[in-house]
């Protein structure tokens, strides 16, 4: 696919206007007719559904998916252009993931944008579009004005009906677009800052782009550390809470992933700011979070195996691939079981109490604000914590080499994670470019260690699976052979990855890399 043309392109300019209810299509026509040689009119009406992922990936990319009677369209919300469409067969249910779509431009675009996220219906509305094609003497359309009316669907999401108009330019006819713009502005209509459909989402109480997993809050650097720590903890509790419904209703595997990342960050925060948040509740909360994390481990592992099924199959010769089907059938069964258990856990009073605890309990802890570490400005604490974590990573990296066990490398990976979390929590106090550089070099090492760890875990899992096959009957032989081959491939991959260990550790521990960290930590605090 070539480059996407953007809203800055004058040929694709589109303007949105809010219209008072008194403005009708005929009044709009008569106003535009004064400036154009001709005008043709089309009218469409029907139910539309606006789709996006739970975390608004399409919106963040500047897109929106629309389901309508003819199928699905991917719309650029800046240019109002249809980027791709799919005429869904009537018999087909609503697709949730890109891999449920036939191969097409529509599928490719969703694949790159959504990844493993599901496409969810966010708003249903009845839309009436009256299109006024503004014509030149050749009866060629030189600009378009669409009059859109959106009304709620009975029994659907509630919002105030709205009427808007869109003025769409056509490439090569900029003079004509300006004429139409003039006609609308002379009428006293003012342009809206965003696409009318995004406006409709807001009116329905949704917040396009409002979901973020970033743990960095715009805190003042002079805020006492204990206070800042509690704010971050409460924010992380909010992220976890937002994902509970998605996990229980099994929207997609990313809800659990985001939940677990927020949980790990919360545990890490309690460790990083141990002195500042020192109170008896802190330890109890840490252990409650650890238990919660452990309870979700199995489901996440199963999700990862199922999501990477194609990768595993690709490791095997074609003839062996069907043989590992029972492995994935078993994983799907295990997933259903784990999901039920996690659903019960997340709906329990115990879990709700933990969330409340994260949000409030530390506030109520009488000893929390008394220690010197608690009253230190968080900007100062941030530098101290990051420096300490960096020292630990460098020390462990120095002790690791090609002969290190998987366990040793895993510990190094955990230290990297803690450093990464510390950088992310306090990112707002540092210069963004310098911060991006150090996070980038850390991420490179983390990804590398993550791959080695994943390969080790996968081999152990498959080994356990092999041992659990009850008997060696004829039907199981092919499965046993395929799983054995898979373990062999994973082992080989791990060896190849490990061969780069010295290079990767050397790169992270290099003078230039340390200098970057030093420069970051020596930089003056920036106000968020």
């Amino acid at each position: 696919m070539g480059d996407q043309r953007t809203a800055d392109d004058p040929d694709l300019r589109v303007a949105f206007y809010s219209l008072p209810p008194a403005v009708t299509a005929s009044r709009l026509c008569s106003r535009l007719r004064r400036r154009f040689d001709g005008l043709s009119q089309e009218r469409h009406s029907g139910q539309i559904t606006l789709f996006d992922s739970f975390d608004w990936r399409l919106f963040k990319r500047g897109w929106l998916a629309i389901g309508e009677s003819g199928g699905y369209r991917l719309l650029d919300i800046h240019t109002d252009q249809t980027l791709a469409s799919w005429a869904a067969p009537k018999t087909k249910g609503q697709p949730r993931f890109w891999w449920e779509l036939p191969e097409s431009i529509f599928q490719q675009r969703l694949r790159h944008c959504l990844g493993v996220r599901a496409l969810l219906p966010r708003l249903r509305a009845i839309r009436t579009v009256i299109t006024l094609n503004l014509l030149n003497p050749e009866r060629k359309t030189v600009a378009r004005v669409h009059l859109d009316t959106l009304q709620p669907v009975p029994g659907g999401e509630g919002f105030e009906p709205l009427q808007q108009c869109r003025l769409c330019a056509i490439r090569g006819y900029d003079g004509e677009r300006r004429q139409a713009e003039l006609a609308l502005s002379e009428w006293g209509l003012t342009a809206l800052p965003e696409h009318g459909l995004i406006n409709a989402l807001r009116r329905a109480g949704l917040q396009p782009g409002g979901y973020s997993t970033s743990p960095s809050l715009p805190l003042p650097p002079e805020m006492p550390t204990a206070h800042a720590g509690r704010r971050i903890l409460s924010h992380l509790a909010g992220i976890m809470a937002q994902n509970v419904d998605g996990i229980v209703s099994d929207l997609d595997s990313e809800c659990l992933h985001d939940f677990r990342v927020a949980l790990r960050r919360a545990r890490s925060l309690l460790t990083l700011l141990e002195d500042a948040l020192a109170c008896s509740d802190g330890d109890a909360l840490k252990s409650a979070l650890r238990d919660l994390g452990q309870a979700t481990n199995a489901l996440r592992d199963v999700d990862v195996y199922l999501l990477h099924r194609a990768d595993y199959e690709a490791l095997l010769p074609g003839a062996m691939r069907p043989a590992i089907a029972p492995l994935f059938a078993g994983l799907r069964r295990q997933r259903r079981h784990e999901l039920r258990a996690i659903g019960q856990l997340l709906c329990s009073e115990g879990f709700r109490a933990t969330l409340r605890w994260m949000e409030n309990a530390l506030d109520a802890c009488p000893t929390a604000a008394q220690t010197p570490a608690a009253t230190d400005p968080v900007g100062v604490t941030a530098r101290r914590v990051i420096a300490r974590r960096l020292r630990r990573v460098l020390k462990r990296a120095g002790l690791s080499d090609a002969d290190s066990t998987d366990e040793t490398l895993h510990r190094l990976r955990i230290e990297c994670k803690k450093l990464r979390y510390a950088l992310e929590f306090f990112a707002a106090f540092f210069e963004p470019v310098q911060m991006a550089q150090v996070v980038g070099q850390l991420k490179e090492l983390q990804d590398y260690l993550g791959r080695i760890n994943d390969l080790a875990v996968q081999q152990r899992f498959l080994d356990g699976f092999l041992k659990a096959i009850p008997d060696r009957q004829a039907g199981d032989l092919a499965l046993t052979a395929a799983v054995g081959a898979l373990i062999g491939c994973l082992h080989l991959n791990q060896r190849q990855e490990r061969a780069r260990l010295g290079e990767m550790l050397g790169r992270f521990s290099a003078k230039s890399s340390r200098r970057r960290f030093r420069r970051l930590l020596a930089s003056p605090e920036t106000m968020p």
């Binding site: 070539g2 009866r139 060629k140 490439r171």
Partner: protein
Amino acid sequence: VTILAYYSIKGGVGKTAACVNLAYLAAADGARVLLCDLDPQGSASYYFRVAAGAKHDSRHLLKGGKRIARNIKGSDFERLDLLPADISYRQLDILLSDMKRSRKRLRELLAPLERFYDYIFLDCPPNITLISENVFRAADFIWVPLIPTVLSLHSFETLTQFLSENGLDRRRLAAFFSMVETRKRMHRQLTHAPALQGWRVLGAAVPYLSEIEQMGLYRQPLTHRRPASKAAKAYQALWREMKTVMGVDAG
């Protein structure tokens, strides 16, 4: 980007009608399409009701860059743009012959536009000229409409001989039958003519139908105006087969 040339030595074989209808189908698929009307008769531009700007002529075209970009016009259809022809294009051969790299010029002119489009359709003028040689070098695929008549097949033979002599990869060329009248015995017989042996001939064919001629009255692609008509269905089948040849899935 994939550059598709619709080309025939012979005129009046349904080349422009195919180019216009197939370009519309490509855009309707979701691809971003530019149709370059290189024929000074400007039939494709006429079908889309688009005229070149007053300042645009063959010299502007050959200078390239912003001069070309400024003259691209949006059609009435989403994602489908047009670079309209001008009568002065009749001098393109003369102008090209005075230029350096006269056989590669078109590819160079299109290069800056490539990142904005998924397909560039070239509606080519008939004859074998310097412009045609530019088209052969620029296009990833050359689609040749053939009427199943002796003269049409003779011109195809001339073309293939020229291309073979000039070392063109024959996998880039495919013929398809156009204006086919199955009630005529000759049309039925000539679809298996020896001149076609060794060259790719598509199975989908465009029949001779008055609704295709009527495109000139309505000035719209038939595939848009009457998508369920017999002719539109023939173009749809042809586009599907072309995508298979190009290795594009027909999603």
